[in-house]
Symmetry: C2
Subunit: 467 residues, 2 copies
């Protein structure tokens, strides 16, 4: 068995930068993930290592953890060696110390020693920096090691560590960009397979099968559950039981995670049959125009929130043109009326996590101390990225138009935004579905760079694929 790793100097450098940022201030405790059970303990989902652990320690095996002493500089990887029973069942692996050496760590120790390191640090009044746990077993372990209740773990999370990790992970290195190019290109191949196999009377799950096959055949996997649906208005549906019908569209939002765990996140919307209907074409063009406008704005120094709002205005302009909305597009967006059609954000950071580092806190990943994330305004509260762009950011651009009957009914009953929304016309679109177009970009010094191979996105190009 081979481990997928960068050169060990990469990890050593990353840890050195982290140590410099934190300064001489206690110990940093980073937990890897464990295997997650499906229907009984030993039947597990495919293992996914924690991304921050991968970033600093690279090792893609379950049940290991690490401590960095910011004062002595000592680094220790904790893990247990295989027994002969383990070898019979799961084969040989390098020893823990061999694996540690591959990522530049000299010292290893059995897992049950972590608690001694933690207690020793606590006893001498030193801080134990931890990241917020998103898996229950890691929360349980942290509570036990820190000798606090489960409810108190959140209070012990280190904001200093969170900010230091985000500052590093948010700027992608050349090595990382290379992996992301690969992951996005695999994602492109997945989309092509899905689009080409789409036809009337098959089920959505037949298309999911194609996406899975292409990802796995590239030694990858899905970075997030596939959204492949004729009900594109449902932003995150994972139901695949609908039968495809001529005249409708499929929205396919899929991405590969490659063997280094970097991911792509692409969406295309395309007809079940050979061509779009005229209504579909009209709204598709509205979304595509907003997307191209947003892409043209991508460069360092521009706030992504402004790009989002500008894209919303383009959507509003288009929606006015097709008579679904009325009034001044700027006023529509200022009032938030466009959120009838575009309920979510224009995009998010992308990396090893699809919503990169989401559990470190969207406020810290996508916003700044000066720019707080909205929590109340429908539309903006789902915008995961708002801050000024910097060279090295990788992000998605994914405008859309979603016709959600439940939302129409609710707002119409509340007589909400009747000055901007043509409810009569809108009600004739109730069965329309949804359109999203999404690509992935690296912010460069002067603008942006499309990651991965080009995936057709114009009406003509899409219809040509279906020919």
């Amino acid at each position: 068995m081979e481990l997928n790793l960068f050169d060990k100097q990469v990890y050593t450098n990353r840890r050195n930068i982290l140590k410099n940022t934190i300064g001489a201030d206690g110990i940093i405790l980073l937990l890897g993930n464990e295997d997650s059970s499906m229907s009984y303990k030993d039947n597990c989902y495919p293992f996914r290592q924690d991304s921050s652990f991968l970033y600093y320690f690279g090792l893609d095996t379950p049940s290991i953890a690490a401590i960095i002493d910011t004062e002595t500089g000592e680094e220790v990887i904790f893990g247990n060696e295989l027994t002969i029973d383990d070898i019979v069942w799961t084969g040989t692996l390098p020893s823990v110390s061999e694996m540690a050496a591959m990522v530049g760590v000299a010292k290893t120790s059995p897992t049950d020693q972590i608690i001694h390191y933690v207690h020793k640090a606590q006893a001498s009044g030193r801080r134990v920096h931890i990241l917020p746990p998103y898996r229950p077993e890691n929360k349980v372990k942290l509570a036990s090691w820190l000798n606090i209740s489960l409810n108190d773990v959140a209070e012990h999370v280190s904001l200093k560590l969170i900010k230091a990790v985000i500052a590093q992970r948010v700027i992608k290195s050349a090595l990382e960009i290379e992996e992301m190019e690969k992951a996005v290109s695999i994602s492109v191949d997945m989309q092509l397979a899905v689009i080409k196999n789409t036809a009337p009377s098959i089920k959505e799950y037949h298309l999911v099968a194609k996406a899975l096959e292409v990802a796995q055949a590239a030694n990858g996997r899905l970075g997030y559950p596939a959204i492949i649906t004729t009900h594109g208005q449902t932003l995150h549906t994972h139901y695949y039981g609908n039968t495809l019908q001529e005249g409708r569209m499929v929205l396919s939002d899929i991405g590969a995670e490659n063997n280094m765990h970097y991911g792509g996140d692409l969406t295309r919307t395309f007809p079940v049959g050979r061509s779009f209907t005229s209504r579909q074409k009209e709204l598709y063009e509205v979304v595509l125009t907003a997307m191209d406008h947003a892409i043209s704005m991508l460069k360092p120094g521009v706030r992504y929130k402004d790009i989002h709002l500008s894209a919303c205005q383009k959507l509003a302009e288009g929606l006015v043109q097709v008579n679904l909305m009325k009034g001044d597009p700027a006023e529509i967006v200022a009032a938030g009326a466009h959120a009838m059609f575009f309920q979510c954000g224009l995009g998010h950071m992308l990396g090893m996590d699809t919503h990169d580092m989401e559990d470190l806190g969207e406020q810290y990943v996508g916003y700044t101390d000066a720019l707080k994330k909205e929590t109340e305004i429908f539309g903006l509260k789902s915008l995961r990225l708002g801050r000024e762009l910097q060279s090295g950011f990788v992000l998605t651009v994914e405008p859309g138009i979603y016709i959600i009957p439940e939302l129409i009914d609710r707002w119409q009953a509340e007589k909400k935004f009747t000055e901007f929304i043509n409810y009569d016309v809108l009600n004739t679109y109730r069965d329309f579905g949804g359109i999203r177009i999404e690509d992935n970009f690296l912010i460069t010094d002067t603008g942006s760079h499309l990651l991965g191979k080009y995936l057709p996105k114009t009406l003509k190009e899409i219809e040509a694929l279906k020919g």
Copy 2:
């Protein structure tokens, strides 16, 4: 979105039987599963409901639970209704009370009410029956509701409930067998795709891709992580990075879980190229002979442990014939020397879980009060099923021969079983790999029935597939 359910009477009947078995004795608390996070909280693995929850309540949605009051007969399903935000992101679902009605339950309540039911029962000195939790979040919830420490949850598990659930789930109904036939037939199609696509110089993960595609295209999924490997000697390897080489074999152990969550579990071993080598043929025939012998013994009243031991003796006979072992086969098995080649058990119960109900306790699922599971003897300690067979059991038969270099080295250094093992010959097989052949059977009143479509298993049939 459609829910996959049997008729509601099925679930009502199952719960009535459970109530009868438990008698008037407190309340039964059954937890459904929650979504499991991959690399951040909202990025989840495909949801898998708890199998016992599915068995009694059918509902395949996360974050619900149920209580059965064995004294009043009251049944309550706990869950929270969708908000408009939920609908925007994940679409509409039937309400909790609508879903409950579909499985014959009249009463529902928000999730946060569970604790009141539990406390009320405890306050009046009534027992709260729980099953052992295998997911950490469910363990945390149980500890909180029962007001006990995490370490004490295991002590509060109800053996009475465990035995009652096993007694029901272990005998498959006609409805369940129908689902298992489907699941096994999908598994057969997966195997055929894998075998036909096997060729020199491709990677193992290309074959995994075919298995995933076939399972998903049948609206199923893998019931357990695929084992598709040129290192068949490693019983549960999930590494797929090896390149296939002419002259070697592939061991493929894969199974579909269908949309009702019943599963198949099939293994075939076949050449990378068109044909087996003569050494491979010899050992394949040894395994197949043992398998056919075991199958011929399947019928109610026979202890599976005896079938296992009898199959081991057939393996030993064959291994003596090819000069890998020596001496009397019965003595070989009595001594346990065959475990150099066959380290695990002949099979296990199969149902909604691949190792059916494993976390309810192998002692209770596969053994009886009179027949205890071995815990020390290598080979027998991995035999998950030992008890007398009954009509309605579904199980696997999966003999194998595995050449594990690490085990050879260890035993040879210890001079273990030198009277039975020809280490000189064995060392010339160090790179052989492993062979397993596995099918799934229903125990009938008079014998057994092969589940699913027939999957080629003789040398000739396998080579014909590769032609």
